[in-house]
């Protein structure tokens, strides 16, 4: 695996980078190292500044403050055509008046590579991205969505960049094809050994592909870590909710270190002690639907709640229940084998252990 051969050095470094458009702060001061050969995904809702961040890395926007360096050399003012980086656009930005082959050969043509060598390289790259050779002369606008993705990818690879940027290229692709392309992209990352920086609003997409994930929210880089870290140890409520459907309970500190009182649901809760909330007066408890159990007669857990079932959804291999606890709706996910066979309106007791919940600061 090429990724392991490389020394763990940053290829791109952002120090104190900030970007404003007039009064609007698109990206708030942030530091970020992109490591050589890694697959880094920046994830965040629309308007979180992730695209602006990417455009600064690609050289299409200059930072308002701070420095961007490439292998230690400051590149703030270096224009995109001079950077060893290449972007796959959200719109793909394929040239509609050029054939598949001409699109892929574009960066080579710009460099003055002779036609014959260009064609050979284009055909080779079409193999890499799994496009049939017969597509070489095909009008790029007559290709399907997935085929266009591959053309755009091959064109970016033809530039032979050290870093490839992706600006949500899969957002307009249907779910099934998206899953296929995500895995292909991950394979391609491993095969090429290049650094990939990917932008998406879908954390699911980020989890599948990335070595590391950065979560952005309103211009701030909230958390950077491996998918495992982001999943298991979100730094705040936003990150945890961004990870998918979760139950979030607001709590106040009661007596001891591990003893908290519910704010939006009644009850006393035990939280595993952790750094983030060591001296906080209020916090959130995040419990994933799959960690909530339905407690039978006599069964116990560290924490328990009483509620009423009011909805049931089949999610393929799992079943999700909505359980009303006071004013709050909790989500419980059970495997089909554990299905409750309970009618809406039936009372249930939910429970979870302290170690299965995450405490995040307010």
């Amino acid at each position: 695996m090429p990724t392991t051969d490389k020394p763990n050095l940053p290829i791109l470094q952002l120090v104190g980078v900030r970007k404003t458009f007039g009064d609007f702060v698109a990206v708030e001061t942030l530091d970020l190292d992109v490591m050589e050969g890694e697959f880094l995904t920046i994830v965040g809702p629309s308007g979180s500044g992730k695209t602006t961040l990417l455009r600064m890395l690609a050289g299409m926007e200059a930072p308002s403050a701070g420095d961007i360096s490439l292998r230690g050399v400051r590149i703030n003012e270096m224009p995109p055509e001079k950077r060893p980086t290449c972007m796959v656009f959200q719109s793909l930005a394929l040239f509609p008046h050029k054939s598949v082959g001409e699109n892929i050969e574009f960066p080579l043509k710009m460099r003055g590579v002779p036609a014959k060598a260009r064609k050979a390289r284009a055909l080779e790259l079409m193999g890499v991205v799994r496009l049939p050779e017969s597509y070489y002369a095909k009008n790029v606008m007559k290709c399907s969505g997935g085929e266009r993705q591959r053309v755009a990818l091959a064109r970016a690879l033809a530039y032979d960049p050290d870093v490839l940027f992706f600006d949500e290229p899969l957002s307009a692709i249907d779910y099934k094809l998206k899953k296929v392309l995500e895995k292909e992209l991950k394979d391609l990352h491993r095969e090429t050994g290049k650094t990939f920086v990917y932008i998406t609003h879908s954390l699911e997409e980020a989890m599948v592909m990335s070595d590391r994930i950065g979560v952005m929210r309103s211009g701030r880089l909230v958390q950077v870590g491996t998918p495992e870290e982001i999943y298991a140890k979100p730094v705040d409520r936003f990150v945890s909710e961004f990870m998918g459907e979760v139950n979030v309970i607001a709590v106040e500190r009661a007596a001891g270190v591990e003893d908290w009182t519910g704010v939006d649901v009644p009850g006393r809760f035990t939280l595993a002690p952790c750094q983030e909330i060591a001296d906080a007066a209020t916090a959130y408890v995040v419990v994933r639907p799959e960690y909530l159990r339905v407690l039978g007669e006599g069964a116990g857990a560290d924490n328990a709640l009483e509620g009423v079932i009011y909805n049931e959804y089949a999610l393929g291999s799992r079943i999700q229940y909505q359980v009303r606890v006071g004013e709050k709706v909790m989500l419980v996910e059970l495997s089909r084998a554990q299905a409750l066979h309970a009618a809406p309106g039936q009372r249930v007791r939910l429970g979870w252990d302290a170690r299965d919940a995450i405490a995040v600061r307010n």
Partner: protein, 306 residues
Amino acid sequence: MVSLSVSDRATDTATKPAGAPRLPFRLSPGARAALPLLGLLAVGFLAPLLAILAFSFAPPRSFAVLRAFSLANYAELFSLSNTVWLSFLWSIGFALATVVLLALIAYPIAFGLTFVFGRWSGLVSVLFVFPLFVSENVRLYGWVLFFIKNGVLDGSLKALGFSGGPQVLYTSGMILAGMVYTYLPFMLFPMTLGLAMVPRDLIDAARDLGAGRWQIWREVEVPLAMPGILIGTLLTFVLAIGAVAEAKILGGQSVIVISHDIEIAFTYSQNWPLGSALAVLVTLFIGTLTLLALQRLDLDRLLGRR
């Protein structure tokens, strides 16, 4: 009369009971809606053309339309002693030079309007449209007043103690300048439309893939803006080849262009059949060129349908 027949039809369809006698053919709603325009075109466009065509086959210097058939007018135009081809060459020459100059002048402005001027684009566009509100002849006479001996320029310079302004009036260069000035909007706006259709992303992508400014222009900008550029070229060429006012007013008849020849035949020499034959030839020439150009032009893409 037209309005009467329209209201008749309206009441007809409204009051006609089912089973009333129907027309032997049915028109689609689109065809019916196009009927007034079709009528206008037939009366205002097709009929004069047909009249000209008929006149061109009448005996020279007569008004005997459709009463006698003669090819004498065409024979005269093609006779070796006739110098009308000179006027034709002047017109083509002026038209070509106008189109080339306009393309060179309008492209940077169109580029500015699309990519650079931002919120000032509207104002700049209005400034370019504004002269169209004044009649072309009035504007050209304005130029004459400005450049004429002892006119605005010459007179002012003399009053200031200089030896006087340049005598550019009544030269072919002045005619060309007048044509470029008159037809600028007709090149500028189609070109701007063409450039506006070049997605910003594609230019960004081309840059990102290593293309320099010149390469972007050649590989992306011009090919994608081509429909607009072609329409502008076609429009200005057709207008310029039929132009007459610039040569008459700014050129002071130092050069006779083809439209001027036609005008002379119809007015001064009262030879309608000859003028008609000339008009037919010019129309055929321009029509053929236009059709050839339109064949290469993808209007669907221009209108964003593809």
